[in-house]
Amino acid sequence: MPKAFTPKVVTANALLEGDVVYLTEAGWSRDLKDAEVLTDEAHADLRMIEASAQTGDVVGVYLADVEINDGTPVPTHFREDFRATGPSNYAHGKQERAKQEQF
């Protein structure tokens, strides 16, 4: 039996800055909480195709597992947790850019 589809988000790195980004319904965000949560496999496949076509904006598009906590997506794996927050030895990356920007 195929495994049940678990909630996912589309993620990548921004081409110019390299920063971790998430696909939203309107574009890309640097903040996981803005991400479009995909619960339907066919829709997820479609969003992956659309995201992967945006080669001028992003690099390395893939689906990452999330779970929904109080209505917002949170990572299920520690690697995605680090990607969403930044390194633990300095408050660099997303930690110094608390202000969310859309692009």
Partner: protein
């Protein structure tokens, strides 16, 4: 040190212009990522977990003060005001933006530096003993030949698409400080019947399948070295496995075919290509060697040094741990620790870089070295100047007296930065250092090398740590496996796996149990951790690691 020729400068300028155009074409959409990726990797640019990372080569770990100052300038202008020195004598910038990288490369070129072949399946930055040209036990300075190899391997048309990356290390001393037996090729300068030559070791490597290199040839004369290297890499280029990334390094080629078979193939290839080496390389080597002439060492009293040792306990402690014996009378080799307790191993702020550059200029014949152990070396300091050097280092947070001790930890960037990592390394190193500093046991424990890798690729050299720690992902949780008894010197040994791994919370207490067991088991304070381990074997340490856990489970 080596001075770029017009040829070198023109080559670099052209290469940087090409990369600038490649970046532009990627941004305007003319190049796809698949097309661009090999081009950026050839120029040292990775895309990591949170950002791009630029890996800059510091050939054989040697820098002058102007180069160190430029590294600081680049850190301030295009990165976050610091750099990370690596186990391959490179510096990594963790936060560059794609558009800025061509400018960063141009800034590097201004001081004869580059990022070429710091990635990709090519011959990588050639590393050397960080005490080269200074060590008391040295037969000859390994840097001239390392520079010759850098020139030979850079853009070598035959070796741009090897089965896998290829790392060469050179040592000029019998005591191996460059881990030459864990490199694809390790070279050791030796003397035989009054003639100088090289012991050639092949097929060493760490990573997924750690191997100690095997001696291919006990003595290769100077003039025969480059054709020998070319024959080895050429044989590997054809024979190395391209079907399986995990079996593609030369260590597997040597292991699967046997050293005798490899030797026969190398000999055959050597006979074919030797006539093409007409001696130009030896003329080049002679010129390079003159660039590495020893500084004019001074003669001075050592009054201030002895006075400081008598009256300043902090200086005394630092000079006990952070100095090594120099070949010239009155001189010492200073190791500057980039392992302040609780800080990130190998990181230096731009301010610290400038201070170290200034000290090199004022007291150190303008020379600095980066060690594979992620520290910075001032190779030539007169003892009389040591109290001044120490005072300046201490004021800049660079005066930690811990070289070779438990907190002088090698740690790869791990999952805090690296896209390949399976667990974090840096926080484990930070916690071990602060924990043992708080216990005030560090100096009592004595020489002990802890090396931490955040994945099986072993950039943190965990296999050759007296205590090695490997971070893995076990069912979605960080898990740390311990190996014991590893050694990266001339007695190179791969550590033995102690048993099941520990969680991030349990790894520090586990290391403490190991260290406490050692303190109980050692014959006397002069017997190091590694000596005790070699005398007693794994059993008592395994029992210290696991008996408590087993007792709790029972």
């Amino acid at each position: 040190m080596y001075h770029y020729t017009d040829f070198d400068a023109a080559f670099l300028k052209e290469r940087n212009a090409q990369f600038r155009a490649q970046v532009e074409r990627r941004i305007d959409g003319s190049l796809t990522e698949d097309e661009f990726k090999p081009l950026r990797l050839m120029n040292g640019l990775y895309l990591q977990l949170h950002a791009y990372m630029l890996r800059v080569a510091i050939p054989y770990g040697t820098l002058n003060s102007a180069q160190m100052e430029q590294l600081a300038m680049i850190a301030d202008k295009w990165d976050k005001g610091y750099g990370h020195f690596t186990t391959r004598q490179n510096i990594q910038y963790n936060w560059p933006e794609l558009r800025d990288v061509p400018d960063m490369l141009d800034a590097l070129a201004e001081v004869n530096m580059h990022a070429i072949q710091t990635s990709g399946n090519t011959i990588r930055n050639v590393t050397a003993d960080h005490f080269a040209g200074a060590a008391a036990d040295e037969i000859a300075d390994p840097r001239p030949v390392a520079e010759l190899i850098r020139q030979w391997s850079t853009d070598h048309p035959e070796f741009q698409f090897l089965p896998r990356k290829f790392k060469v290390a050179v040592s000029g001393s019998p005591h191996d400080r460059a881990v030459i037996k864990a490199h694809d090729i390790g070279l050791q300068i030796v003397e035989q019947d009054g003639a100088r030559g090289y012991r050639v070791i092949v097929g060493g490597g760490l990573g997924r399948t750690p191997m100690i290199g095997k001696t291919l040839n006990d003595f290769v004369a100077d003039a025969d070295l480059l054709p020998t290297l070319e024959a080895i890499v050429s044989v590997y280029n054809l024979l190395g496995r391209r079907d399986n990334k995990y079996k593609a390094r030369i260590k597997i080629t040597v292991h699967e075919n046997g050293i005798e078979d490899i030797r026969a193939r190398v000999d055959a290839r050597y006979k074919l290509i030797r006539p093409h080496f007409g001696g130009v390389d030896q003329q080049m080597l002679a010129r390079i060697t003159s660039d590495f002439a020893k500084p004019r060492f001074k003669t001075a009293p050592e009054t201030a040094y002895h006075h400081a040792r008598q009256h300043d306990p902090a200086f005394r402690s630092w000079s006990d741990t952070n100095l090594a014996e120099h070949a010239a009378p009155g001189y010492a080799i200073v190791s500057i620790s980039l392992k302040a307790h609780g800080k990130t191993p190998g990181d230096a702020s731009s301010r610290q870089m400038r201070i170290m550059a200034g000290l090199a200029k004022r007291y150190g014949h303008d020379e600095l070295r980066i060690s594979h152990e992620q520290n910075v070396i001032l190779p030539h300091v007169h003892k009389e100047d040591l109290p001044s050097v120490y005072a300046a280092l201490k004021a800049a947070g660079l005066g930690t007296a811990n070289i070779g001790l438990i907190s002088d930890i090698i740690a790869c960037p791990g999952m805090d930065y690296c896209a390949l990592a399976t667990a974090r390394s840096i926080p484990i190193a930070q916690e071990i250092a602060t924990h043992f500093d708080a216990l005030k046991l560090e100096h009592d424990i004595g020489p002990l090398k802890i090396k931490i890798s955040g994945c099986i690729n072993a950039c943190g050299h965990h296999h050759v740590g007296h205590i090695g720690i490997l971070g893995l992902d076990r069912a979605g949780v960080e898990n740390y496996q311990i190996t014991l008894g590893g050694d990266g010197t001339e007695d190179a040994t791969i550590g033995e796996r102690a048993g099941p791994g520990f969680s991030a919370d349990d790894i520090i207490p586990a290391v403490e149990r190991l260290v406490m067991a050692y303190l109980d088991l050692r014959n006397d304070p002069g017997e190091t951790f590694l000596q005790t381990y070699r005398r007693l074997g794994l059993a008592p340490f395994k029992s210290a690691l696991y008996s408590e856990a087993q007792a709790n489970a029972a």
